[in-house]
């Protein structure tokens, strides 16, 4: 069996980093949904989903991104995606997610792009 699913959330510079490890399918997507929900309830709207350890996603996982993004952007936040492996990136791209979500090569670029946006606003 492939490695099971684990999810963890950390915080850095006022940005929430949700790390997905393993697979997000219809079975595990509810945990991912809860993790995003938890951040929103705490008022955290600057979110990076680190996918560097994610080896599979189905539409159930894509649906989580889709259902929260509008609310988060209404609150001047964003959900950015980092570190997609080629196979998973392909699934995002088939449906056109790359046009609507910001995707970075790695976590640091994603974090930096939030900071840049923040500085621009403050500056």
């Amino acid at each position: 069996m492939p490695n099971p699913f684990t999810i963890s959330t950390t915080h850095q510079n006022n940005i929430s980093i949700i790390t997905l490890d393993g697979f997000v399918d219809a079975h595990t997507a509810p945990q991912f949904e809860n993790a995003v929900q938890t951040e929103l309830e705490a008022g955290n709207v600057r979110i990076v989903v680190d996918c560097s350890k994610l080896n599979y996603i189905s539409s159930a996982g894509l649906g989580v991104f889709m259902s929260f993004i509008e609310e988060v952007r209404d609150l001047n936040g964003d959900i950015k995606i980092s570190g997609l492996v080629p196979k998973v990136r392909h699934t995002f791209e088939i449906l056109g997610f790359h046009d609507l979500f910001e995707m970075s090569e790695d976590l640091n670029s994603a974090l930096a792009s939030f900071s840049a946006a923040q500085s621009a606003k403050e500056g």
Binding site: D25, E33, S58, E70, G96
Partner: protein
């Protein structure tokens, strides 16, 4: 060499817990058919989506029901059949909204069937409400 058809069947309780096993099954069948890794990724996702729909929509997470996946490898294609005995639906009446519209409406679903259509070479639904609903998906094997 004569064409040998190879048939594989997996039958599991209707629970999302079994999607991982279903994907392993599909991956192995794809390997035996000689598909590339990229193509194996596509059939893996398409069958997962089809089975997730059966588990959620046809059987409403009733674990006493069973999901049956049949795979057939022949000389130039691999065919998957997923049959359910749920209430059925009209695949042509399922609106295929733009992603932007789904996002605006804060929808969390509606992506599965369009993924299946993009991933497979042929997709046919045969719906006989109350009796059986069959989804047939074909991937052609391009010899490397």
């Amino acid at each position: 060499m004569a064409a040998i058809e190879r048939a594989f069947t997996l039958q599991v309780p209707s629970s999302t817990e079994n999607l991982a096993l279903i994907r392993e099954f599909v991956t192995t069948v794809g390997q035996q058919a000689g598909l590339t890794e990229a193509e194996i990724g596509k059939i893996e996702l398409a069958v997962d989506e089809a089975c997730a729909n059966v588990i959620e929509h046809a059987y409403g997470h009733d674990e006493s029901k069973e999901v049956i996946i049949r795979a057939n490898i022949d000389d130039d294609s691999i065919t998957f059949e997923i049959v359910d005995t749920g209430k059925g639906f009209d695949p042509n009446k399922i609106a295929q909204e733009e992603l932007e519209k789904l996002i605006q409406d804060r929808k969390d679903g509606g992506l599965g069937m369009r993924l299946i259509k993009k991933l497979m070479d042929e997709v046919q639904y045969e719906i006989v409400p109350g009796q059986k609903n069959e989804l047939r998906m074909i991937k052609r094997i391009r010899k490397a």
